[in-house]
């Protein structure tokens, strides 16, 4: 069942969500970099290497997972020089590179570098990062910031450009329209929902890095709402993401308006889940 999402061709509609799969480790451990997935969405690439947040980073929640990971990664230079070429040799299907940063220039520099690398098939903007130059706490929480960032990225790449939205906003449709106005090819709905676990002794976030986000089955209804809202507000293709655990979850998101669906937290329990869902969808 070949599909096209935001000008990117996929052999079938299942992907991973950024930050929920490590293709290099999966290849080493299981002998398959992206089992049952049409391609691979990388972890968010930041300009500089990042160690990620101090422990603790995860906590269970009812029908969900709380996390505060902090975007660990090798940084742009090492990603382009080492990891991306390696991924190209082991991933079956297109590689979608997730890009993050802390200023417009951060994003633009990474997008421009990826544009000239044939191993990168498409680019996903993780707009849930702050813009420290403007003082905006989350680019994706502000329509103007989202449009400016998407437009700036659009100027330096002809590759399919996706914008991954947060549902922790007052009106996701407004943000979706801004991404469309900025030149996005597709939307990814949705990132984790702002959430946390509390240290009872201090009243502060239990996570070493503070903050936190909720993923897993608990957020599927939020994802459905976001997909419907974005479908009604824009003409963009949508990748649905949030709480997908079964073929019926995929059907629900596609009925809501998604043309492709990403798996996330459920992969942690079952790294072969995409195979199971594909078989169920085929039957």
């Amino acid at each position: 069942m070949s599909i096209t999402v935001g000008r990117l061709e996929l052999a079938q509609p299942l992907l991973n969500g950024s930050g929920t799969w490590d293709a290099e480790q999966a290849h080493r451990i299981f002998g398959d970099a992206n089992p049952g997935l049409a391609g691979f969405v990388t972890k968010t690439i930041t300009p500089e290497p990042r160690a990620g947040n101090p422990a603790p980073r995860i906590a269970p929640s009812r029908q969900g997972l709380l996390n505060s990971i902090g975007l660990p990664g090798p940084g742009r230079e090492a990603f382009l020089a080492t990891l991306l070429p390696r991924l190209r040799t082991i991933v079956d299907g297109p590689i979608i590179c997730s890009v993050g940063g802390f200023s417009l220039a951060d994003y633009v520099d990474t997008v421009a570098a990826l544009d000239s690398d044939p191993a990168c098939a498409a680019i996903e903007l993780n707009v849930s990062c702050p813009n420290v130059e403007s003082g905006c706490a989350s680019i994706g929480g502000d329509a103007g910031e989202t449009e400016r960032l998407t437009h700036a990225a659009r100027q330096v790449t002809a590759k399919p450009l996706f914008v991954k939205l947060s549902a922790s906003v007052a009106d996701i449709a407004t943000i979706a329209k801004a991404a469309e106005a900025g030149g996005a090819d597709a939307l990814v709905c949705v990132n984790t929902i702002k959430a946390t676990a509390v240290d009872r002794r201090t009243g502060k976030s239990w996570f070493g890095g503070g903050g936190g986000g909720l993923s897993g089955a608990a957020i599927k209804p939020v994802a459905l709402h976001a997909v419907v809202a974005c479908r009604e507000a824009t003409t963009l293709d949508i990748i649905g993401l949030g709480g997908v655990e079964s073929a019926d979850d995929v059907r629900d998101l596609m009925a809501a308006g998604a043309c492709a669906v990403a798996l996330g937290t459920a992969l942690f329990r079952n790294p072969a889940l995409a195979h199971t869902i594909s078989a169920d969808l085929a039957s």
Binding site: G19, Q25, A26, F30, K43, P54, I58, I69, N270, L273
Partner: protein, 246 residues
């Protein structure tokens, strides 16, 4: 540490039948049906277990142990009666890096373990007999856990607040031991590594950390290694103790 052991891992979990849940003092021993898919791997490697009903939303890392008549694992009684209860358990593994036992001998190797770390030593005791084990327990009703640690020579166990580090220092001062293999809660690893370094003795430490996946995807199991944050499931759980001190 170059000789760490890894095994190829089957993609995807499989269902294992639970044949018995037996009280083990304040803990519980869960026996699962022998199955060629349930490969134990090397001592120190772990498996991600979860309830197929989804009652426990996240899998948990557990060290499987070899029993005389099969395979099993130890959990707290509350988990055995709730999250992990049921006729089947979902098993993914073996995962992570295990102990390098190439230099192991009863004459020169000392084992140190506390809590669930003792189940790791149960594996080593079946491969290398008569090694001395310094054991620590959080509470006295966990003492029956030691019944599962066969093949080793166990010192009188230390029950909290007594620490395993006191007899460890005394043992290393004798000059007999060339390496220490340790497993236990977070604080134990760093303390053992420090004492070993002070005595010029090599150490391998099996770390514990909360995990959601066990295969490098979730980045949740951050542990401090080499002065930065690394994934326990990928870099460990067994690491050279010197890496905890960098």
């Amino acid at each position: 540490m170059s000789g760490v052991v890894e095994h190829a891992t089957r993609l995807g979990p499989h269902l294992a039948r639970v044949v018995a849940v037996e009280p083990l003092g304040g803990l519980a021993l869960v026996r699962i049906e022998p199955d060629p898919r349930t490969e134990l791997g090397a001592p120190g490697q772990f498996h991600m277990l979860s309830n197929p009903t989804g009652r426990d939303y996240l899998s948990r890392p557990v060290g499987l142990i070899q029993l005389d008549d099969g395979v099993g694992f130890v959990v707290d009684q509350e988990s055995a009666a709730s999250d992990m209860a049921g006729p089947e358990i979902t098993v993914l593994g073996p995962l992570g890096r295990g102990f390098d036992l190439s230099e192991t001998s009863a004459e020169t190797t000392l084992l140190v373990a506390a809590g669930f770390g003792l189940t790791v030593m149960a594996r080593i005791g079946r491969l290398h007999t008569r090694i001395r084990l310094i054991a620590g327990l959080r509470q006295a009703d966990h003492l029956p856990l030691l019944e599962q640690v066969t093949g080793v020579t166990i010192d009188a166990p230390r029950i909290a607040p007594d620490l395993v580090t006191d007899p460890l220092s005394e043992a290393l001062a004798s000059g007999q031991y060339r390496q220490v293999l340790a497993a236990g809660p977070t604080g134990l690893g760093a303390a053992v590594a420090r004492i070993c370094a002070d005595h010029g003795v090599a150490s391998q430490i099996a770390l514990e950390a909360p995990m959601a996946c066990g295969f490098g995807a979730c980045n949740g199991c951050a542990v401090q290694l080499d002065g930065t944050w690394k994934r326990c499931c990928i870099d460990g759980p067994v690491v050279d103790g010197a890496r905890l001190l960098a």
